[in-house]
């Protein structure tokens, strides 16, 4: 057995761009997930039967099927709906929908952790429900769930690897291209694993630092 890592070191530039692709997928996917999460929770809180049912069904379907099946489904479904998106945009959409289902659960928990008195105080001051949610409930709720959201972001970052299945531009698909040219499968994926590990650790560290800043107000 001989290992030859030169094939990866020679391709360091392609890999670096792959990392950029991965991070972009993760960031945009998470942004979409947050929009879906906040929107979904707003729908659930309005307590109307049909929209609540739809959101609940969405959450259950996403949480109980594999991401790979979801991304295939979206990839093949969109053209039927007359929409042509490149794989990378499709990947962001899939990541956002998937992450959104988890975000709904997390954010709902956070919102429920805010005492009712906060909402009542806002209403008594003459603010409307939407304003109360945006200006009073949201930030403390986000603070409460920031750790869960951070883990969710890391998870989403790792999930981006699966987007190679539709050839979205990210680290794993770059790796697969190198593998196809060099047949050095183990060396390639071993290196990618290391890179992903570094990405996770750095992200974790950065998110903790951001959290300390963004939610700097004292709690009690």
């Amino acid at each position: 057995m001989t290992l030859d890592f030169s094939v990866v070191t020679n391709a360091w530039q392609a890999l670096a761009w792959g990392v950029v692709g991965t991070m972009l997928l993760a960031v945009f996917g998470m942004a979409l997930a947050m929009v879906i999460g906040v929107g979904g929770v707003a729908v659930l809180r309005a307590q109307r039967r049909i929209p609540t049912l739809l959101v609940t069904a969405f959450v259950e379907v996403i949480r109980n099927t594999p991401f790979l099946v979801q991304i295939y489904f979206i990839f093949f479904a969109l053209p039927f709906a007359g929409i042509r998106l490149n794989p990378t945009i499709t990947a962001i959409l899939a990541l956002g929908l998937n992450g959104g289902a988890y975000a709904i659960e997390i954010i709902r928990g956070g919102v429920e952790s805010i005492p009712k008195g906060q909402t009542e105080a806002g209403l008594a001051l003459g603010l409307h429900r939407g304003e109360v949610f945006r200006m009073i409930v949201l930030k403390p709720a986000l603070k409460a769930i920031y750790p869960s959201l951070s883990s969710q972001f890391i998870l989403l970052t790792l999930t981006t690897a699966i987007c190679t299945s539709i050839s979205a531009y990210e680290l794993t698909s770059v790796g697969q291209r190198i593998e196809a040219e060099t047949f050095r499968s183990f060396e390639v994926y071993f290196t990618l694993t290391g890179i992903y590990l570094v990405i996770s650790l750095l992200t974790m560290w950065a998110l903790a630092a951001i959290g300390r800043r963004a939610f700097a107000y004292p709690d009690r």
């Binding site: 057995m1 109980n64 295939y72 489904f73 890391i154 499968s185 992903y196 996770s200």
Partner: protein, 214 residues
Amino acid sequence: MGTLEFTYLLEGLRWTLVLTAVGFAGGIAFGLLVALMRVSKSPWLRIPAIGWIGLFQGTPLLMQLFVVYFGLPLFGFDVPAWAAVAFALTAHASAYLGEIWRGAIQAVPRGQTEAAEALGLPSRSRMVDILLPQAFKLSLPATVGFLVQLLKGTSLAAIVGFIELTRAGVIVANQIYQPLVVFGIVGVMYFLMCWPLSLYGRHLERRMAAGISK
């Protein structure tokens, strides 16, 4: 889509179940080991466990599958594809379950350890008779939750080319040119396996929350 294609999907589904079962069983055995190492007082046991957990929670499952799948032959283990995938899933599960059970063991109130110490129980008995049974109960919802995650995770074997449910779906979809129908059916099949488990996990969680507030 005809019966032939449907049977093919069911064939794939059988492999999905096999992979899940083997990965979960292996994960339980090695996960227990990881958890015990993780809560050990000795750094020689604890630190490798921390590293093991961090490695698997900090990298994509897909990379773990690739590394094992391509690595085993390099190191002279010529095993069939399903065994390589099952091996990777086992390692993956051991890390996640180890971390879940670590949390559960540490969530057992300190008084329990102290009471056991006060009774003069040896440390082995403290763990086996007092802590583990209680931790097992505490960890049940999260363990069931991970089982769902693992079942969904087996779909990644499709990317290394192993024919389980998702890969079977890809093949059938390419044959009959009806990707939406095929992936819809595949999705429903996963859903029917995962959803009851998720509901059961939530039921356990609710029952436990009620038990604690009592």
